[in-house]
Symmetry: C2
Subunit: 306 residues, 2 copies
């Protein structure tokens, strides 16, 4: 095992990736309270909503109100997910309320078509325009490549293809590329390969790992990514989240479990785990069901007890 980074960046994506996957829309005032809480845990990056079409994802149709309503501390980077030029147009009306945008496409054509009804190459062309507009507006851009580790419809996704897409997005002006294990098909050896090769192919680009815990292997993949030098992760409080297609795709890794493991290994995150657990308890109460997060059930490790 190689040395691990001394510190990593975490982007909390629960308010977007999680809330959009709940069958019942969460009331706007609850969202605002939950995001305000998360922004005070020490998390420095939070994806708070998405400017998708309200008729497609009604759960996030209050994007404007959420963005207007939250109380943003100076040291927090707020990001919103942008599906296309139209979404960016809507978001830019509230330009002073966020710092980053996330854009996304799938490395596999079939998943991309089922998700956004066009080919990966069509998405790429559209996103190049979106990235240019975002750059002109002074926004940081994170480009997320879904199904980077495998596709539930096509099976294997060639790493060469994933890296080619990443290079095009970086060349278009995205300083951060996230590799998404959208349906939890990644294994640690593969994660090591992807991040090792991505570091070579994308010098100077921030590489972010976005893992799902679909088969319980999420934190093992985090460990492999850390060993390959990855210093940026995305996760959801409570282990919320999933993917609109296919049905039943399960949650992101839980931010509480990620933070617990990192802190136990001496990797700094800046996050106060107790405050984060407070937020996870709050969202569990709002949703009224048990959540997938393990540390939420077990509590943090108490080395002082005895």
């Amino acid at each position: 095992m190689t040395a691990l980074p001394a510190a990593v960046r975490i982007r909390e994506v629960g308010p977007r990736d999680g809330f959009q996957n709940e069958p019942e829309t969460i009331p706007t005032e609850d969202k605002i309270r939950l995001i305000d809480g998360l922004m005070r845990t020490g998390l420095r990056r939070i994806e708070v909503t998405s400017f998708v079409r309200p008729d497609v994802i009604p759960q996030l149709s209050d994007a404007d109100q959420v963005l207007r309503g939250i109380d943003i501390p100076e040291d927090v980077e707020v990001s919103v997910l942008i599906p296309n030029a139209r979404g960016l147009e809507r978001a830019l009306l509230l330009r002073d309320r966020f710092d980053d945008i996330g854009v996304f496409l799938s490395a596999s054509d079939t998943h991309n078509r089922k998700n956004v009804n066009r080919s990966t190459d069509e998405s790429l062309a559209g996103l190049e325009q979106v990235i240019a507009t975002a750059n002109a507006a002074g926004l940081h851009v994170e480009a997320v490549i879904a199904t980077s580790f495998g596709c539930p419809y096509e099976g294997e996704v060639a790493l060469d293809r994933v890296l080619e897409i990443a290079q095009r997005l970086a060349a278009a002006g995205a300083p951060e590329i996230a590799f998404g294990d959208t349906t939890g098909m990644a294994n640690p050896l593969q994660v090591r390969d992807v991040f090792t090769r991505a570091r070579e192919a994308l010098p100077g680009v921030e590489l972010t790992a976005h893992f799902h815990n679909t088969r319980g292997q999420g934190l093992a993949n985090v460990l492999a990514a850390l060993e390959a030098g990855c210093e940026s992760f995305e996760s959801s409080f409570g282990e919320l989240g999933g993917c609109p297609v296919p049905a039943g795709a399960t949650g992101n890794i839980a931010t509480e479990d990620l933070v617990s493991m990192l802190h136990e290994m001496g990797v700094q995150t800046g996050v106060d785990l107790d405050q984060l657990l407070e937020c996870a308890r709050d969202v569990r109460e709002v949703l009224g069901r048990p959540l997938g997060s393990h540390t939420l059930v077990a509590g943090p490790i108490d080395w002082q007890r005895g």
Copy 2:
């Protein structure tokens, strides 16, 4: 990341570690059917019950009937957990029905006292006798050291102490030592240290990892153990299990999740994942509640789809 072993051994402990932690005793005929199923998945080692006092753990008071009732294939090593000399005496009445015994103690005094009402040193002395008797009967002995990675009552447990206990147990005649993360306090860096130092301290001894998924980090710890050369693991189908003390201690790693991750990395286990999932579905139906296993919910990865 160093090279991983080509193959590992898995001991399924759900029928003991899992069933003893269920509030309602599972009917004996269900246990027998479940164990018979597990023994036909390719799992080569199964801990089927424990000869504890029936008034202390009534859930396993049918140890004799279970051991008599199961239909044991030739290539499966059946093991039973033995708390003390009295338990071994009872088990030896059915000597032809099992191959291995597991004995256990906790590295931390407080946990050992709460679990078995004596000090670690008192347990050690007793187990040396039990191991001698077992060896005389031609049994393979696995000695499990609970709280090897931390104690919920005392906090840190000195690795020197853990290794000293391991050496005494090995010297007494236990060819296999398992290090138990009884309440899920281990992190991957610590796991690497423990197994690296244990390999040096215990040449020729089989070293087994027994992890719990208390804070979602179970498979990350498996990865770290693999990297440190560990080739033997214990897990529970369905993510059943826990520990009698303290209350609320959560489950072992799920055998399905372990097998899925290992196979994806090309590490052989001999287990048929589909058949194992069949057993996990069966126990979920018997228990009538959702279980912690992720692969049980998501299904195995299908690389052929598309």
